[in-house]
Every structure is written in C-alpha cells, then in structure tokens.
Symmetry: C2
Subunit: 212 residues, 2 copies
Amino acid sequence: MARQSGDERRKSGGDNEGRIRARNEAKILEVSVRLFSTKGFDGTTISEIAEESGLPKANVYYYFQTKAAIYERLIAEVFDDWDAALRHIRPEREPREAIGDYVREKLESSRRNAAQSRFFAGELLRGGRFLSRGQRQHMRDVTREACAAVEQWIAEGRFPALDPRHFFIMIWATTQFYADFAPVVAATLEVPRLRKADFDDAAEQILKAIHF
Amino acid sequence: MARQSGDERRKSGGDNEGRIRARNEAKILEVSVRLFSTKGFDGTTISEIAEESGLPKANVYYYFQTKAAIYERLIAEVFDDWDAALRHIRPEREPREAIGDYVREKLESSRRNAAQSRFFAGELLRGGRFLSRGQRQHMRDVTREACAAVEQWIAEGRFPALDPRHFFIMIWATTQFYADFAPVVAATLEVPRLRKADFDDAAEQILKAIHF
DNA sequence: GTCTATAAGCTGATAGAC
DNA sequence: GTCTATCAGCTTATAGAC
C-alpha cells in the first residue's frame, strides 16, 4: 500500500483518498442509521450526524449531496437483506427445516442489526415513500417465488393447506417484532433488556406455535 | 341547549364555547394523528395541522400549549385501547372462542383506525419516549393478567404448553402488521389496496395457522 | 480533502389588536 | 375566542479560504 508518489496522491482516485472516503462514508452511514431509526428523517439533523461521525458538517455534504441521499443509500443497503434470508425457502427442502432456518436467521439478523431493522420498519410504517418502483417490484417477485415453494409443499401433502401469503406475513410480523418493538417485548417478558437468549426462545416458541 | 343569555355566553364556560372548543379540539386531534402517523413528530408542523384543521396557527396554540401536548394527548387516547380488546381473555372462557374474538377485534380495530394504529406503532418503534411510567406499568399489569389466564388454561389441559408471553407477542405482531405495514401486505397479497375482506381472511388464516 | 462562515428559509411559539 | 404580525432560533445547504 501507499505505493503512489506524493504527486499522484494529490490527484483524485488515489489509494489514500479512496480509503479515507470509504472510512468516512461508512462512519456517516453507521451513525445515520442509528439516528434515523430513533428520531426519524426529519428529527435527525446533519449537524448531529456530523458531530457523531467526528466530521465537520461541510464534510458530510462533501460525501453525500443531501440528507435524503444518505437515507436512500441506507434504504438500498437494508433492502438487499430483505430477501437474502428467503433463500432457505426452496421446494426441494424439508419444510420444517427450511422454515426453521428462515425464522432463526430472520430473528438473528434483526437482533444483530436492530437499528437497521427499525430504520426499515419506520420507512414502511410511513408508506415506503423512499422505496423505488423497482424495489417494490423486486419484493413482489421474491415473495411470489417463496409462495410458489410453499404451494408445492402443500400440493405434495408436506404442508398444511394455509394461504402461503398470509403465512409469510405472519412470519415477517413475528420475527420483526422482537427487534423493532423491543421495549414492548422486554416489558412483556419482564426483563430489563432483551438478550440473545430471549431471541433464541422466541424462535423456538414461534416454531412450536405455528401449526405446520 | 342554548339556555344562556347573551351576556352569560360571552363569559367563560358557556355551552357554545364548550361546543366550539370540543369541535375544534377534536378536529385538531383527528388531523394530527393522520399527520403524525405518516410524517412523524418532527416532520409534522403546527402550520400544517392548522391549515388542515381550517384554523389559524395561533388558534391551535390556543387549544394546545405545545406540539408535544397534542402528541401526548393522542398517546393517552390510543393507549386506552391497547388493553380493551384483552378483556376477551378470561380464564373461564373457552380458549378457542376467547382467542378468536381477540384476534378478530384486534384486526378490525386496527383496520378502522389505521392512522391511530400506525401512530402508536411509530411511537413504540422509537422506544416509547412519550410513554409515561404509569402507562408502561399498566401495560405490564394487563399483560401479566392475560398471561395468567392462558397459564390456567394450560394447567387445565385446555391449551398447548406454550409460553403465554411469546404467544401474545405473536398475536400482537401479526394483527398489527396488516394495518401498520399495509404497503407490504398489499404487495404480498397482490392487491392495489387492502379491503375489509383481506382483514377477515387474515383473521381466519392466523387462527388456522396457530397451533392451539 | 478539510473546515469556517454564512446565506436563505422554515420552525415553534408569542404579543397584542380585535 | 379569533387572528395578524412577528420573533428568535435552528435547519439544510453552499461559498470559498486553506
């Protein structure tokens, strides 16, 4: 690394600049997802993002043209994860195992990225104004595919005759709830704050409660 | 009505003034819950509330001292409904009927008051900063009571050995999801917008999917 | 790439005439 | 009770020196 001459480094696209850019952008995004998730789009200020990122406000604007650009970048990042877990749902797999893996992965990823999960939930709660047409279409396509797998299981007599669409809604609702509405869950479980063990319990209870 | 003299009416506390106050306050609250639910606390402006209420901004301040006061009043209103539906869960009732009534009422009330439901979900999503200590305690008490009823059913062998706390979380998560994340649900069901029939389907599918 | 200074506009909230 | 006019403060975003 740092094989460039001083002259080259001062020009654009050098290794150093690239690394600084990557580090600063990552820091800004990491801080932003946390702030947006707890204070919303309008409640979050660029000054605050700059302060918590350890950068002057003008530098935040150097990396992202507007506040909305930061928000949209985060939407795109989170969006990629929406369907990643759905890869477990394949018609050739054993239903119990596939759904078990899916539920456990959903719960674990929302636990590990709680701010991201809440951020996305907030966006959906407000109607998903920042979601592009393509992103919406992609969600529909992925969902339809997963439903087709369940329908095949039903046709083969390996799964109860439930509407797969409502079945997935139920899974999403339940797995998201633990991370997104943690204060309610903690109050219900009568614990000061949620730990990994609570999420593990949740996975087992969900799988036990669903009739399949 | 209107039994007062003109002189009395001009003083404070008259029927007319009371009626005007009630009407204006109700209008402000009705408009506010819709705006807060789609734009959040900081994204909603008093000017906008005033405009959509058909009042000058100063009049909104005449009825509510601050923006937070409007928000808190709404929280209190919604809060009363949280446990109202839980009255169905009583140990002497038949589990299937009690839970069926509960799920159906939850879905129907969230459908009819979707803005209110989303408003409260948004507040919980952000950690419930506006919830008072007393309100939190009340939630815990009501939940504990409902769990006790389920535990009695289990002890009597009328209900599967599930953790009642996770069971209720699952019910809340699922029933709330349809109103709160309507765009996702509509996309999944492949309908342009949700109708009453979709909520009715949801109730039956949820009850069919849960193993009890 | 970094940072200070500042513009331009909007916000919550109030004063005070009617 | 109603409404106009206004303030003080904070916001996003930019200009321009280093």
